[in-house]
């Protein structure tokens, strides 16, 4: 009986911790596919996490939180996009700049609003509601795992489908892929490369912003300093490992989230907590490496096959 509830709890938490990584890596798909490396995901998440809390606390309801959270994500993404695309600054440096600004700005704004530098616990902020899905919630085990999650969690998983349709079934998605695949070819047929990439970065910002807001308005009910803790980078790794396809990203996000969840559970055991906290980051390095090795093997195999075909 104990084992059963333990497993259910773990699966439930797995979905919970996967949400922010999934949302951010879905956002990363848009950037990656249109040919932009957005290293600023971490910072964008952090900023929207704080401003979501501040917006809902001062606006007095959730709507203002969402407006502030998404708005701040759009502004900082816009700055990233302007400097990278228009002023031709290196993407890695732009991303680093965004992350640096974010970690300073959030603490600065937090202190301004609450007088503290650690967390927003003194503010009365709102969270996204949890949703009980009718019918499913009544199924024994499955209902305990799948129902009763935060609204954002369901939106995140829904977004896998939405992004898939957007990327592969809409003209704008096609344009983004074309611009990413070969910017010169796309621009030769009249596509404005900068405009489309700008749009991709902004849309990515919205998704990532929701990922950030989930952390402070769902996963926890307040903002704490540096609460994103590298999830943006992990999401970037998940995007690379999922080959920037929605389903691939879903799988790799779940893989990385598994270790995140595992570290939550292992904290109860007698292992030094530092090793447990290391786990998601080690898993990401390991996962990326294994993936890269596989990819190279596949390429070698393919090129061999082609060679053989030519010989035959």
């Amino acid at each position: 009986m104990i084992d059963y509830s333990f497993i259910v709890d773990f699966l439930f938490m797995w979905i919970r911790v996967a949400t922010p990584i999934l949302l951010a890596s879905l956002g990363a798909i848009l950037c990656e596919k249109s040919g932009v490396v957005n290293l600023g995901l971490d910072g964008i998440m952090l900023i929207s996490a704080l401003f979501g809390v501040l917006g809902s606390a001062y606006g007095g309801n959730l709507i203002w939180g969402v407006i502030a959270g998404v708005g701040s994500a759009l502004i900082i993404s816009g700055i990233f996009a302007y400097f990278h695309l228009v002023l031709k600054a290196n993407a890695v440096l732009c991303g680093t700049a965004v992350n640096t600004i974010a970690s300073g700005l959030t603490v600065f704004a937090l202190q301004l609003a609450t007088g503290e530098k650690g967390s927003s616990s003194s503010l009365k902020s709102y969270t996204f509601p949890t949703v009980n899905i009718p019918f499913i919630k009544d199924i024994p085990i499955l209902g305990d795992i799948l129902s009763g999650h935060n609204l954002i969690t369901y939106i995140a998983f829904l977004m896998v489908i939405v992004i898939w349709i957007f990327m592969y079934k809409t003209p704008l998605g096609l344009r983004m892929r074309a611009v990413g695949e070969n910017p010169n070819a796309a621009s030769s047929v009249g596509q404005n490369v900068i405009k489309i990439r700008f749009l991709a970065i902004l849309l990515c910002g919205v998704l990532v912003g929701f990922g950030g807001m989930y952390l402070s308005m769902g996963y926890l009910s307040m903002f704490t300093r540096d609460m994103v803790a590298g999830r943006g980078f992990i999401a970037l790794a998940a995007c690379a490992m999922g080959q920037a396809t929605p389903v691939g990203v879903l799988i790799s996000s779940m893989v990385f989230a598994f270790f995140d969840g595992l570290s939550n559970i292992l904290q109860l055991l007698q292992i030094p907590s530092e090793f447990v906290q290391m786990l998601p980051y080690v898993a990401t390095i390991f996962g990326l490496t294994v993936y890269s090795i596989q990819k190279i093997r596949l390429q070698k195999k393919k090129s061999k096959e082609i060679q053989q075909n030519v010989i035959e």
Partner: protein, 362 residues
């Protein structure tokens, strides 16, 4: 050719001035909007660092670790790589130096040298990981180095709290370093320590390595155009790995020098972020190691100013991070002033052509 060089210099300097002005303007704006006593905040920030010898010393002390990490960043970026490992290499360096300083008995002169060398070796070892993963399997060094920074942070904290912890202390702190390991203070009335001399020497060595040796030439060629370097017979991946290892060693030594010069125990609970500031310093120095001390002093000045402002007024010191981010954006923006530069080059070329034309006509 000469006039092109001159134009590039003029544009670079103008851009630097604009960057610094925009940063100062931003501070002004933030202070005006948020502070209830802006005059006090301003004077604390801009003039505060110069009000006493001790504070001027603080500027130099704050600049010291940034020189090492900036040199590391320059080494990595010059080879066209984007490993962010200088943060982790610095932190593992502090750990390495701490281990030697607390547990290995050595005579006074040799102790800090050994500790800093071990720190450098550990930094190099950490930097080797993303470099090798990239070389062997093309794993993005950006992501692996960022992840590794977290791993290093937790590992260092683990080592301190489980193996080197001062039991009697309520907060996390290591046992005290042996007296023989401490880097001596070189200017009385301040805490400016011998580490800063090491930093300056390393700046000069790095400059010679990058700009006066064949290795440096190869490294910069790889950074400018890896394909060209490959076709001209340079072992590209080898150079990339070596550059990152040297960078790791530089940052690691910085960690060692910092902890032995400024502290007598290991007290950090999170990675201190010198690696990130090092990026700003490297960019400010325009990838020139000889300019690094100056850029580091400027950054140190901003840090000290922000701390004084935070103590004397209601504006918190995180302002500096915002400014640093804006600086990275401004300096990285290659298209900034590009039109102006183009115009100047065209003008110079025209006047040169005109002069030649005259000669021919004569």
């Amino acid at each position: 050719m000469d006039s092109n060089k001159r134009i590039r210099l003029i544009v670079d300097i103008t851009k630097l001035i604009i960057t610094i002005l925009v940063s100062c303007g931003l501070v002004t704006l933030i202070v005006l909007v948020t502070s209830s006593d802006p005059v006090n905040a301003f004077s604390s920030f801009f003039l505060g660092p110069f009000t006493s010898v001790r504070r001027i010393g603080n500027i130099v002390e704050a600049a010291s670790p940034l020189m090492f990490t900036a040199l590391a960043v320059i080494m990595i970026f010059s080879a066209g790589q984007f490993s962010m490992i200088s943060e982790g290499a610095f932190f593992i360096g502090t750990l390495g130096a701490m281990m030697i300083a607390t547990s290995v008995p050595l005579p006074a002169g040799i102790h800090p040298i050994v500790a800093i060398l071990v720190a450098g070796a550990m930094g190099a070892a950490v930097a080797l990981i993303p470099a090798v993963l990239k070389m062997k399997w093309q794993v993005s060094e950006v992501v692996t180095s960022l992840m590794l920074n977290y791993v290093v942070q937790f590992f260092a904290i683990y080592m301190v709290s489980y193996h080197f912890r001062e039991i009697s202390s309520s907060s996390l702190a290591s046992i005290e370093f042996k007296d023989t390991s401490i880097l001596p203070v070189i200017i009385r009335g301040t805490r400016i320590h011998l580490g800063i001399v090491l930093g300056v020497i390393l700046c000069i060595i790095t400059y010679f390595l990058l700009y006066r040796t064949t290795f440096g030439m190869k490294l910069r060629t790889v950074g400018n155009n890896a394909k060209f370097a490959h076709y001209s017979g340079i072992k590209v991946t080898g150079i990339m790995v070596i550059s990152q290892v040297i960078a790791g060693a530089l940052a690691g030594m910085g960690g060692g020098a910092e902890i032995l010069g400024m502290y007598n125990r290991f007290k950090w609970t999170t990675s201190p972020g010198y690696g990130w500031s090092g990026i700003v310093v490297a960019l400010l120095a325009r990838d020139n190691p000889l300019m690094v001390p100056l850029a580091a002093l400027f950054m140190g000045y901003l840090n000290v100013g922000a701390n004084i402002m935070a103590r004397n007024s209601d504006v918190s010191s995180e302002v500096v991070q915002i400014i640093q981010g804006v600086m990275i954006l401004m300096i990285a923006a290659e298209a900034l002033l590009k039109k102006w530069k183009q115009k100047m080059i065209v003008k110079a070329a025209k006047s040169e052509a005109g002069m030649k034309g005259d000669v021919i006509n004569d």
